[in-house]
């Protein structure tokens, strides 16, 4: 049986329903990130190696010695952002503030990554199934 034969088994109502549900479901995906638990610790990696752990509970600034120069990050109200960077395109600065594990601040030329970790630990277990 060809795929086309299977398609012909469905009605227009089916196809409409599937398209509507697909659109709604895909539209709901951005909500996923918005709901994940906020982290209160960031790990800073340089060239893939973790070099510093900073709490987001205390406001302040810290400097990271990257591959091509020093980058300055600022912590304020539980979030972190890049204040200055030695690279030319400043992507990490434009990324803005973060405290979500899914939103990393990345400076590729400088090989610096600021990674918010989950409050329960990076590999915390939420539930166990039977």
């Amino acid at each position: 049986m060809k795929p086309m034969d299977l398609f012909r088994l469905t009605t227009w109502g089916d196809r409409l329903l599937v398209v509507i549900l697909a659109v709604i479901t895909l539209a709901a995906f951005p909500l996923v990130g918005a709901g994940t638990r906020q982290s209160d610790i960031v790990i800073i990696e340089v060239d893939g190696k973790p070099v510093k752990k900073v709490s987001l509970k205390n406001d302040g600034q810290f400097t990271i010695h990257g591959v091509i120069g020093d980058a300055v990050f600022e912590v304020k109200e539980g979030k972190v952002h890049a204040e200055s960077a030695p690279c030319s395109n400043k992507v990490c600065i434009h990324q803005g503030w973060t405290n979500m594990p899914w939103k990393l601040l990345v400076c590729i030329p400088n090989k610096v990554v600021v990674r918010p970790v989950d409050a329960g630990g990076a590999n915390g277990v939420d539930a166990v199934t039977w």
């Binding site: 088994l9 469905t10 009605t11 089916d14 329903l17 599937v18 479901t25 995906f29």
Partner: protein, 193 residues
Amino acid sequence: MVNRAANNQVRGISRESRTRETVFLALLGTFAIVLHTVEAAIPSPLPWIKIGLANVITLVTIPLFGGGAALAVTIVRVVVGSMITGTFLGPSFIISLFAGIAATLAMIVTFRYFSRKLSLVGVSVIGAYIHSFVQVAVVYLLLIRHKEIFYILPFFLSLSLLMGLATGLAAILLEKKLADVVQVHASLGVRGR
């Protein structure tokens, strides 16, 4: 039962047909239990992610024997199937039971009111969505009291769409074959085209 018997008289279904129906329902229940058990043996990245093979049987039961029969097949399948896999009365049994009943009810309603527009594929997709949603809701109520678990829904529901499509297509093909064999489709309304 009296009502049912009278109903059958009106529908012109004889005692012999009743016996036929009972035997067929028992067979459908058995198929559902087997599929449920086989499916439990299929490896899956997450324990909640399943194809929903057994739902094919519930789907074909709705047009062939009506909503009550489909509900019975689902409940028998979940209870006996969980006894075989050893999860009876465990959390996954409770999740399966509630989600299975809710999905079956949703599919019965969808079939009753939209069978002119939707084939069993549409009915199946609706059932798959309700199944995923109720699963997560039951997990929230019984196991994990964190609202965060609802954020897994878009991921689950997109899988539901694919699995619902697959099982729906399988159900259409199976129903075409079974309708000839069962021969009780008189007065049972429109089937998926």
